[in-house]
């Protein structure tokens, strides 16, 4: 046995490691990097009505985006919605994840299943269900009016609130599951040590639990923020035609206006803003707790 290689996977010169990495790498390269590169090239092209895309090397599409108040408003709305969703996912998700991680209940697996279950229902299906429930003649308004609680229907559908609630519902499982796995890795005795040294629960959480859960908080925030920035079905169905966000804007620019150069520019703005805000929030959270 002495001559059998015990090299860990990933060491240079290890053919097995290369073999393990290649398929995913090729997939990512062809499926992601190449289209993004092409998209970027398109975004520098010119759009001539009637001729569609014309080869060029211009930043006109980006200038158009950043000088038109309409597009700036769409971007600002998207960021606002994504930040709000991520914030509430974290605030609501952390206690839930904590209970899930610490419970001794024999129904723990059932609880985890209950968290995962919503993921079985696609975004579009769920949003459609909400349209039925929250429309002006929908279940909620009909019930409240029938009971005499309200006299005119509450405007729930086609508001920013509806979109925010919808995205929170979609993203919550990702946040909770990410946090739960990290909190489970924190020694329960460390929390008890803080208690016994005189820290009440909130102080313990701020000084011990959050800093130790930081990797999970970051991962959960990044994941839900990216998902919220790029949400499509929920804003379209719950926000309605006037509630434009970046995801649907990319689609309509490409598919309805056939303006590929501008669509490419919108895509790149979305990607870049997501990236910058993700990095910024990571740095911010790190500085706050580490």
């Amino acid at each position: 046995m002495a001559h059998v290689s015990q090299r860990p996977v990933g060491e240079p010169g290890n053919l097995t490691a290369a073999g393990l990495l290649v398929p995913a790498t090729i997939f990512v390269a062809i499926g992601l990097m190449v289209p993004i590169a092409i998209l970027f090239r398109y975004s520098l092209n010119a759009f001539v009505p009637g001729k569609l895309m014309v080869d060029a090397l211009t930043v006109a599409n980006y200038v158009k985006f950043f000088t038109d108040p309409f597009y700036l408003q769409v971007l600002w709305r998207t960021v606002r919605v994504a930040v709000a969703c991520t914030f509430f996912c974290l605030i609501f998700g952390f206690p839930l994840a904590y209970v899930l991680a610490r419970t001794q209940s024999r129904y723990k697996n059932l609880l985890v299943m209950a968290i995962v279950l919503p993921l079985f229902v696609g975004n579009a299906v769920r949003a459609a269900g909400w349209m039925v429930a929250f429309g002006s003649k929908g279940f909620v308004n009909a019930t409240l009016m029938g009971m005499g609680v309200i006299s005119t229907p509450i405007e729930i559908m086609y508001t920013e609130t509806a979109v925010v609630i919808g995205i929170i519902a979609v993203n919550m499982p990702f946040m909770v599951l990410t946090l739960q796995s990290v909190i489970e890795g924190i020694d329960r005795n460390v929390e008890e040590a803080a208690f016994s040294l005189g820290a009440p629960p909130m102080t313990m959480a701020m000084r011990v639990l959050f800093p130790l859960a930081l990797p999970g908080i970051l991962a959960g925030v990044i994941l839900t923020f990216i998902l919220a920035m790029n949400a499509y079905a929920t804003p379209v169905l719950l926000g309605g035609p006037k509630f434009q966000t970046m995801g649907p804007l990319v689609f309509s620019t490409f598919a309805q206006q056939n303006n590929w150069p501008f669509g490419g520019a919108v895509s790149f703005v979305l990607m870049t803003v997501t990236l910058i805000l993700t990095i910024a929030s990571t740095l911010l959270i790190r500085r706050r707790y580490a």
Binding site: D187, N189, V190, E192, A193, A194, F195, S196, L197, G198, A199, P200, T203, M204, R207, V208, P211, L212, A290
Partner: protein
């Protein structure tokens, strides 16, 4: 600094009682050890004192103050965990300072007290390191410093040595004991290791099945065990099953008639013998009890030899003798005389199930 009193302390989960009406008095400055096999309720008792487990009944007092319903952060108890439970994201100094900050100590007060606590556990100069950069023994001492620096009313130690390797454990035992005496802290330690318990404690509490079996000093437990469980758990005993037929007369199931203390209760009983109180060879003949037997097994323990002697088809005893290396040690198959005085007999009525 204060005394600690447990009065009828009980914990049940549903129908299962894990701690059954435990009453104890830990005197000011005393080192009390809760000793028992795993699952005996000793850790639950300690966690009730710390405030992590709400008691189902009974009360806990520190000095005159009833702390039964106080949350852990309002009890002034210093706790050292088996896993040390240091804060991994804080330096050693920050770990030790944590409890002082919670007590709103001023900055000018924290620095010197942290330094003093680290000096006490011989870790001065380690303040800026992180726990992961320390050895197990050093982490253990940081945990101790962190618990001591808050000047707790009671110090609670939950199997503090079981994650250390054997050699270090012997050393840390003595260090903790010395520290405790130096600070005069009322201390409760939980352990399943009887040797650890015997070396460190002022008094010991033997627990099993959630109940206290005996409270006493080392020699109380060893010389005068309250029941068969204590005789078996503290130190070693070999057991001979039989019956006390007349005052001072014990008849084993194997047919031996032995002399035992006259006070032994009549009826079915178990006779427990400490291996080192038995004598082998011709010297056995002058003792109250002497029985011929056959050596069935000899185990070599270095300084000592354990000689297993079969007395008849049913009864056998273990005799511990010094390893004199004079070539006269008994060998398997030898016929040999075993003897012991009546005073070496610990007789317990057989528990009727």
């Amino acid at each position: 600094m204060a005394s600690l009193t447990l009065d009828g302390l009980t914990k049940s989960y549903g129908d299962v009682a894990v701690v059954k009406s435990v009453s104890l008095e830990v005197r000011d400055g005393e080192f009390l050890v809760l000793l028992g096999p795993s699952g005996c309720g000793k850790t639950t008792t300690l966690r009730m004192i710390a405030g992590f487990v709400p008691p189902s009944g009974g009360s806990i007092r520190i000095g005159d103050q009833d702390i039964t319903r106080l949350p852990p952060w309002k009890r002034n108890a210093g706790l050292v965990f088996q896993s040390y439970a240091l804060f991994p994201h804080m330096t050693v100094a920050q770990n030790v300072a944590f409890g002082l900050e919670m007590r709103k100590a001023t900055r000018s007060e924290v620095g010197p007290r942290v330094a003093e606590a680290l000096r006490l556990v011989r870790l001065d100069g380690y303040g800026e390191r992180y726990p992961r950069q320390l050895s197990g023994g050093q982490q253990q001492r940081v945990a101790l410093a962190r618990a001591l620096v808050i000047r707790p009313d009671v110090l609670l130690l939950d199997e503090p040595l079981s994650n250390l390797d054997a050699k270090l454990r012997l050393q840390v035992r003595l260090e903790i004991r010395a520290l405790q005496q130096q600070t005069g802290l009322t201390t409760v330690m939980v352990t399943h290791d009887q040797e650890e318990a015997l070396t460190m404690a002022d008094r010991l509490v033997v627990m099993s099945d959630g109940a206290v079996r005996q409270v006493g000093t080392q020699s109380d437990l060893y010389e005068r065990p309250a029941d068969l469980f204590v005789a078996d758990f503290v130190g070693r005993s070999t057991m001979i099953a039989g019956t006390v037929t007349d005052p001072g007369a014990f008849r084993s199931d194997g047919g031996l008639v032995l002399t035992c203390p006259a006070a032994a209760q009549l009826g079915p009983a178990t006779l427990a013998l400490r291996p080192e109180r038995l004598t082998l060879g011709p010297a056995a003949r002058g003792l109250d009890n002497h029985v011929p037997g056959t050596v069935s097994f000899v185990s070599y323990l270095g300084a000592m030899l354990d000689v297993h002697v079969r007395l008849n088809g049913t009864d056998h005893v273990v005799v511990q003798i010094p390893n004199k290396a004079d070539g006269l040690a008994p060998a398997v198959g030898d016929t040999i005389e075993v003897g012991w005085p009546a005073s070496a007999c610990l007789v317990f009525p057989r528990e009727t199930a």
